[in-house]
Every structure is written in C-alpha cells, then in structure tokens.
Amino acid sequence: MRVKDTLSLWVGGAAGDGIAAAGEALLKTFSRSGLHAYSYTSYQSVIRGGHVLLQMAAGSSKRLCVPDFPDLLVALNQDSLDREAKDASLGILYDKGRFTLPRQGLKPGCRDLGLPVSELAKEPLMQNSVAVGAAVRLAGLGFETLSALLQETFRGKSPEVREANLAAAKAGYDHAGKAFGSLGVRLPSGGPRRMVMSGNQAIALGALAAGCRFYSAYPMTPASSIMHWFAPRASRYGLVFKQAEDEIAAVNMAIGAAHAGARAMTATSGGGFALMSEAVGLAGMTETPLVIVEVQRGGPSTGLPTKTEQSDLFQVLGASQGDYPKAVLAPATVEEAFAFAALSFNIAEECQMPVLLVSDLNLSEHHETVGGLSLQVPITRGPYAAPGEDFRRYAVTDSGVSPRAVPGQKGLEFTACSDEHDERGDTISDVRCDPVQRTRMMDKRMRKLRTAAAMLPPTALEGPQDAELTLVCWGSTYPLLRHLMERLNEGGRERVNLLCLRSLWPFPWREVSDILYSSKKTLAVEGSAGAQLCRLIRQETGYYIPHRSLKYDGEPFYPGSTLAAIEAALGHG
C-alpha cells in the first residue's frame, strides 16, 4: 500500500465542545513538525450548540485548501457522526462509550476508530485531548511536539488540569498505536517549525509592522479577531486601541487620530461599513490618510454573520456620496493580507486618502502556515510642510498631493473641512461659493488617483499565456483556483490560466483588458449572487465574462465542485 503524505482531517461537534482548541492543537502540532497546514472552521453564530466543523489539511506542500472530504474524522458528538461519518475515507475517531457510529453508508475501507474515552481519561470532557492524541498518532507523528504544545496551552491552568489533559492525550496516542495500527498515513515531519496565522492576524501584524498607532473598532464578525489580536498587544507595541460605541464613531475616531498625525486604522464587516460610509468621503474630502478593513460576510442586512461571501464589492467601491479618490486592495492569501495591510498605510499617507482593504471571512478567519514574512516593511509617509510664510494645506500641485501639517506644529495651523474649501482649507461652500475654485480643488484631489495607481500591487495573468480557459477571481477563492490550475495543467498541458484581481481601485483596466480580450474563454469564480466582479470588469473594460461559477450558500468554494465547473466551461463550445 502506498503511504499517504497528506492528511485531510475534520473535527465536528457543537459550539462549546472545544473544537477551536482541538483544532489549534492539531494545526500547531503539524506546523511545528515542519508541515504545511490549512484549517477552516465552518461555524454558526451561537455560543453553544449548533454544528461546527473544522476542516483541515496537512502535508509537505503549501498548495493546500479546504478539503472536500476528510481522510480522518474526529467526531465530538453524535450529531457529527450522523452528519459527517459518510464522508470519511480512512477512519472515524469518537467516544464509543457515549456515541454510536452509524453502520449504514460508510465509505468502503473506512475504519471504526471508536475510543474508550472513559478508560483512557478521567472525565468525558477530556475526549478532545484523547482524540487529538490519537489523531497525531494516526498521522504518523511523534508525541513530543504535541506534548510540548499542551504544556504551553494549559500553562494558565492548575497543574492537575494540565497533567490530566497531557495524560489523556498520551493515552489516546498510545491507544491508537496499539489498537488501530496504521492508517497508511505518514506525514513527512522534521522540517523547521512553521508559523501559523489567520488572514485577520496577518492584517493586524502588517498594520503593526507599518507603524499603525491607532485602531478603533466596534465588534462585528468576522472582523473582530483583528480587535482581539490588537487589544492584548496594544500597550506593548505603542498602539492605542479604542473600542467605539458604534462603527460611525470608530471610523471618525480613526480620522481624528490620523489628523493628529498617527497612522490609524479601523475594521468592520459589511453592515458596519455601511455605517462608516459617510466618513470615508470625509477622509477623501479632508485628505486624511486612513486605512479601513472590510471583511465580507454573507449579506444583505444581518445576512449570514458567520459565513463567507464576496458581495460587498459594490458597497466598497460606491461608499459615500460624491466623487473622491480612494484605493481599494484585496489580498488573496494570508501573506498578501500582511503585505497589503502594510502597503495600505503607505498609499494612505502618500496619497492622503482613504484606503480600503477588502477581505472575506474565509481569507480572514482560516488559519494556515506561512513563511517568508519580514516585519521590516517599507514605510513612506508622503510630503510634510515646513513652517513658512504662506502655508496652504491644500495647495494645488501636479500630483494633487499637498504637504501636510500636524497639530502641534507652530505656524502651520489650518482647519480640515468637510465642506468644499480652498487651498487654505477655508470653506467655499456657502456664502463664499466659487465654482472655479471648486472645480480646481476637485481636480486636484482626483489627480491623486494617478499616484495611487502607481503604488498598487500589479495585475498579471498567472499560468500559461495561451490556455484554453482563463479563470477570473478575487480574494480567498484564489489559492483554490491556483491549486486547481496546477492540477489541470499537469504534464505541461495548457488548459487553464488565472487572473486574480488584487487591485480593485483605481481599476487596472488596461491590464485587465489586455488579458481578457486576448483570452480564449473566461470563467469567473466568485462568491456573489450578483456576480459583482463580473459586472465591475464589464463596467471598466466592456468585457463580458460568459461563464460564471457563483456561490452564495455561505461556504467557501470546494475543490470538487469548482473543478466540475471548470471542466464544464472547458467542455463548453
């Protein structure tokens, strides 16, 4: 029998069963063993109850994505056995003292790996530790990494709790070795330890590396984990974190902090961003550097609070009344989430405009192993004024960018104004209305889009130039499509290439037009019932994407169904 060097593993249970902790223990055991790993939790907006499913893949390759099916299922309750057992291919771990494995409908060869938890641990609550120990054994890994990890995890608990859980994990590990033997899996461990992070953690880390000094936010899933990462680190790294009374306050606080000279950021999801909308235009009008993170979830309205979607594109692009310059960036990987967050601050300050960093729940909340992050990021802040005779904060320049001043600097006092204003910042909206000045000031601000465009991440086709089919996507869909493209092109074939849009505004219409108008056939894969990416592309380039795989059931794209959609488009005349 061929030994498998990758493992897909699902952990199912109810919210409150400790799935996150079990998942983290497994994920970090893999990453510290030098493996790559990827994990996504499909959960519901409840504290206890409901069905929660953690889907994980581990192996030596970085090309991992949410697996269609588990090799190994860890079921923490009866419901998970009833729902998921049929999908497991190699085996099912569960507490056989409390739960019953359905005999019908199991895949051929799938093994009953019932654990006698009551014999292996002091109490049923420790079934997680027993199961994690068993799963590590079945993955073909040693116990030491898990042991060290559990020591850390339970550091804050009493010695009794720590020892009991360690003993339970060891008992599960040993039992699996004795009773189950091998599943034919041996993950190639032994490389250097790898870092694990979520997209939101990467965004927060990128912001911190870039010198973010002020973060204000109101709790909203799936953006809150940025807050949760910042809050305990704020005083250590010189960042003021302010939980605001609502999103309107959050964004306006960030604007105030930026006006005072701090690099400032706020984050929210679609509903909160709707409340922030007016202030995005305020940042545009007052030329205040500001970074806003919008992590999309299922909409509209309260929608699907804990589910992924990509349907806030139009909201982000259309935020606020009137015309003003802004930049919109969409990372597609965890590494890009880090890099784009850092870059956003440079764009915001160099162009003195709001920068919107758009993510989605899948990208922001899944965890994966990452490498090659340097926290020494480039920092550029744009022009500052020197005290002089005739300071004009909004001086008309060729680039549209005017030297800034910060409160506290002598001789550069000015008022930032949400009304239309002249070069000094004095209003020209009411009694001093001046159509000529108004036009000049609007033109000056809009010219900054050229500077922003030059700073945006490049837009390029990936894969073979003349493939039969061009896939089009943005955000978290990218890693899966990249993975499928490589599979489809195996053996030097040129079936598929890929266009992932990372810079959404100013829209790279020249590059996108060049790519799409020379493609043979196009398929958009996006998480939006309204095909918003397709419509944006048509608006900006005139190009109509005929094939569309649209998903808005709340779950990410999975390999099997996406592959089928690609094959269908390939086969379509």
């Binding site: 010198g211 002020f214 306006n252 001789g411």
Partner: protein, 291 residues
C-alpha cells in the same frame, strides 16, 4: 501660568458668516478671549466641530481645526485626543449636531471622562437647514417641521451630561460674555470631560427663545450656596428653569481621565509622535508568537 496673548491673534482671516445678532458671535469672541486669557498657543489647540451654523466656528478661529461631519465632532476629537493627549481639544457645535444626531457620542464621551471641552451653542432650533425643531425646542413651538407645535418634550443636556458621568457641567449665555469667558477658561482648564451648554439665540428661526425671552429667565448661579462637587445638588440645579442657572453646576477633580488610564498612553505618551516601525527585538518576538 502661560502669558496672556491678544484675543485678536485667535481670529482667522475669515469673518463669521452668522446672521447679525446671532448668539454664536458672542461664543466665538468668548472662546478667543478664554484661549488668550489662558495663554494657550494656537499650535496646541485643536477645535473640532460637526455641521450646522455654529459648527462653522473653527473656520473663524485661528488654531488647528477639523470641521467634520454632522454629529461626528466628538468621535473625531476623541481620536485626535487619544493620538496626542498634549493637544487642547475643544469641540464646538450646535444642539442639532450634539443633542440630535450626535447624542450617542456625547454621552459616551462623558462617561469616558475624556479630557475634551464640549461647547454647545444651543439655540433650540435647526438654523442652517432653515428652521426645524431640535431636541431642545420647547413643547408647543411651531417650526417648519412642526407647523402645529412640537409634541415631544425637550431633552435636558445638563442632566444628561451629569447622569452620563461628565466631570464638569456648566451653562453660559451669549449676552453674559464676561461670565462666559470665565466658564470657558474653567472648562478648558478642567481635566476631564466638560460640557458648556450655551444659550445662543437664533435671531432668524427661533421666535420664542429670544434675547427678550431669556432676559427674565436666566440668573447667575449663587456659588456660595451651591456645592459644585455634589452630583445630586448639581442635578437639582440642572432641573431649574425659572430662572435657568448660569455658571458651573458641577465640577469633580477626583475622577481620572480616560487618557490617564489608557495602558498605551500611560506607557508611551502621545503615540502620534512615536517613530514608526518595529525594533529587531519586537519583530523577533512577534514572529516567534506565531510559531
């Protein structure tokens, strides 16, 4: 104490566009005198406003300013103060801006006891939008939005501020400019959230609460008989309407400001001035934390 400066130094080059006779002229003059009297430097003062007639004030005042969105002056001021607590942050606006659309922010700023000075030019009507009822318009008053008279009771901003935790609450009146200057000086000097509700009559849209109307309805608070550190006494004063007491109703010096409690500000001071980028040690420990 820093030296007095000339009140004229606090005038911007732009003349106020308020109607002749508007109470806001008196508030602007008093604020200029208060800042000069306190010897503040224009570079260290940030005046933040929302939208409305009175919110045009920063444009007429020579210091740093931010004329923000309708109702959002307090959050903008909050962010600026938290980024650089060394700034004297003064928030100015009207009753529509602060007690209507911005009410939530006002109460939260009060409970936080941020060191902000909030000056509300309360004319009991929406002026810039040409005469609709506001949250402080009296019952029965006919406005363009209430042609048969207001049927909602007005809010009491002083009582709201007191109940929300403001540590300095005062009322002033445009026709008593000398007292107003003193109240402003005390409010700006106060360490914590201060509200000064200013009766600032609108001569165009409010035909009830006129200078004539106020003449017999305001009286200077008797400082000798009022304990301004007593919350219950201040609340009783805030309820008095005949006459309305003018002066400082409440002042507590023993409540720490938000800024003095914030762990980051305690450790680093003004974050706006910190150099950017992480040290090699910080980089290493952060990367390590993800392993």
């Amino acid at each position: 104490m820093a030296e007095r400066t000339n009140p004229k130094d606090w005038k911007s080059g732009v003349s106020p566009d308020w109607c002749p006779g508007c109470g806001d002229h008196g508030v602007l003059n008093s604020l200029q005198k208060a800042c000069s009297g306190l010897g503040l430097a224009a570079k260290d003062v940030l005046v933040v406003s929302g939208i409305g007639c009175s919110s045009n004030l920063p444009g007429f005042f020579r210091s740093y300013g931010f004329h923000s969105l309708h109702g959002r002056a307090i959050p903008v001021a909050t962010g600026a103060k938290l980024a650089n607590p060394a700034l004297n942050v003064i928030v100015t606006g009207g009753d529509g801006d602060g007690y209507g659309i911005g009410m939530g922010h006002f109460l939260h700023a009060a409970r936080r006891n941020l060191d902000l000075t909030y000056i509300v030019m309360d004319n009991q009507v929406y002026g810039l939008t040409t005469g609709q009822a506001s949250a402080t318009t009296c019952m029965g008053v006919k406005t363009r939005s209430t042609p048969e008279g207001v049927i909602e009771r007005p809010i009491n901003p002083l009582l709201l501020a007191l109940s929300a935790g403001a540590t300095f609450v005062a009322r002033a009146y445009s026709m008593e400019p000398n007292d107003m200057v003193e109240v402003f000086k005390a409010a700006i000097s106060h360490k914590g959230f201060s509200l000064v509700d200013c009766f600032s009559p609108c001569v165009t849209w409010n035909k009830l609460n006129t200078y004539e109307w106020f003449k017999s309805r305001v009286a200077k608070l008797d400082g000798a008989s009022h304990d301004r550190t007593d919350l219950a006494a201040a609340m009783r004063k805030a309820l008095e309407e005949d006459p309305f007491p003018l002066g400082v109703l409440y002042e507590r010096l023993d409540v720490p400001t938000y800024e003095s409690l914030d762990p980051t500000l305690r450790k680093h001071g003004a974050v706006a001035g910190l150099p950017l980028g992480l040290s090699p040690e910080e980089q290493e420990e952060l990367l390590e934390s993800f392993l």
